[in-house]
Subunit: 142 residues, 4 copies
C-alpha cells in the first residue's frame, strides 16, 4: 500500500483546559491526512472531485484510539494508508506518532460519492474508479 | 433597529489551556448570531439565500474587543443588531453579556453576495433588497 | 439508565463545501452532550472536576456511524446515556435524531482521570466514585 | 522589526458551504502565526510562558480585513510582525498572501498576562520583559 506522511504542529488553540489536544481536533487532522493521502498519491482532491464528477468522499464510519496525549508545541508525524477497498467505499488508517511512539490511531470508512441522479439533494455511493484504487495502492498507472 | 437575542453555553471544547474561551470561537458565535438575526427577523438564511439567488453574506471586515473572559459552564447572552446599511454591505454589532455585564463586543461588515456573472468562480456584491433591509430594521413588510 | 437530551441547531460554520456537517463537528457535539449528561444528572462538570480533584474525563476510544447527513438550519435532537461502567472508565452512547430518524450514532469511552502522583504532567485513571455512577445510572443519591 | 513567515495549506474542513475559508478560521491562524512569531524569534511559547511565569498572551482586540477568498488546496503565506509595543500589550500584524497578493490582513492586540496576585482566577497585564521586546524587534539579546 501507498503510505502518505504528514507532519503536524500542535497549536495552543488545538488544546483544551486540561492542556492537551481536544480530541475532535484529531478527526480534523484525519480529514486533512486523507486529503494529503490523495495529494501525495498524485490526485489533489479539488481536481480529483471535479474531474470524476463526485461531490467528495464523505465518512460513514470512524473509529479512534487515544493512547497518549499531546500538547501545544509537540510535533506529530502521521502515516496514512488504505487498509481495505470495498465496492464504493474504502478504509483509511491514520497513525499518529509522537517521538516515534504511537499516540493515536484512527480508521475512517469513506464513500466515493456523487449526486444521486434521482434526487440531487442526496448523495450516492459510486464504484471506486480503478485508477484511483491503483494509485492509492501504490501502483502508478500513468 | 431589530435586536436579535441568543443564549450561548460555553463548552469545555471552546476553551484553551488558559481555561478561557479560545478567541476565534467568539467569531464562530458572531456568525451564528448573524444567522439568528436573520432567522429572528423572519428570514431563515437557507431559504433567504436560495430565494434571493445569493451565495451568502461573506465578511469583509471584522473587529472585536475582549473585555472579560469566560470559561466552560458560563452562560452568555448575545444581542445582535444592524448598525449601518451601505449599498451592498451592512454592519452588524454583537454584544456578549455575562451576568449582565458586557464581556465581548464585535462588529461584522458583510456583503450581500451573488455569483459574478462574468466569472462564476467569483462573488459580487449586490444591492441589499429593500424587504431584507426593512426586516433587519424592525419594520415588518408583510 | 439516565438519558440526557440536548437540542442542536446546525450552523453555516458547521458545514463543509459539500454543504453538510463536517464530521469532526459531531465529535465536538459528543463532548458537549457528555457535559450535558453530567449537568442533567445533577453534576455540572466544572464543580464536579474540582470537587473530586480530577482533571477531566479524557477519551480513550471513540466510534461513530454517520447514517444520514444534515445541513445548516437543521435541528437535531441528541439522546445520551452511559452504556457500560468499567473500573475507571465508562462508555457513553450519543444518538442524533433528525426529524425522528437516527442520523448519527457515537460511542465514547472515557476515563475518570486525575494527575498521576508520580508525574503531575501525566494523567491517571481513578476508580469511578459510586455517587457519580449512581447519578449517571439514574439513581438519585441525595 | 522581526518578520516571521508561515505557510498554510487550506483544507476542506476549513471551508464553508460557499466553498471558501470560513472566516473564524483565519483568526485561528492568526493565533498560530503569533505562536510562530515567538518561536521564530527564539522563544517557543511553552517554555516562554513557564520561564516568565505568565499564563499566556490573551487578546484584547482584533481586527481583520478580508480582501479575497481562498478555497481548499490553496497555499497561503503569512508574514507576521509586531507593529507597536505598549506597556503591557503589543500589536501584531498578520498579512496573508495568495499567489503574492494580499488576501487577508489582521491586527491582534495582546496582553502579557499573569495571574492576578489578589485573585488567581483573574489575569493581570504585566510589563513586557525587555528581552522579549528585543527579540520581537529583531534585536538578538543573547
Amino acid at each position: 500500500m501507498f503510505v502518505s506522511k504528514k507532519t503536524i504542529l500542535v497549536e495552543w488553540g488545538h488544546c483544551d483546559p486540561a492542556g492537551i489536544v481536544f480530541y475532535p481536533q484529531y478527526l480534523m487532522w484525519f480529514d486533512a491526512c486523507t486529503t494529503a493521502l490523495f495529494t501525495n498519491a498524485g490526485m489533489p482532491i479539488r481536481e480529483l472531485f471535479s474531474s470524476h464528477g463526485i461531490v467528495g468522499v464523505p465518512l460513514v464510519d470512524v473509529r479512534a484510539r487515544f493512547i497518549s496525549s499531546s500538547t501545544f508545541g509537540d510535533e506529530l508525524t502521521v502515516e496514512s494508508d488504505v487498509q481495505e477497498f470495498k465496492r464504493s467505499s474504502f478504509v483509511i488508517r491514520h497513525q499518529f506518532f509522537k517521538s516515534g511512539k504511537l499516540a493515536v490511531e484512527g480508521f475512517e470508512t469513506r464513500v466515493w460519492a456523487g449526486r444521486n441522479p434521482d434526487d440531487p439533494q442526496r448523495l450516492k455511493g459510486l464504484p471506486l474508479p480503478p485508477d484511483v484504487m491503483a494509485r492509492l495502492s501504490g501502483n502508478k498507472t500513468e
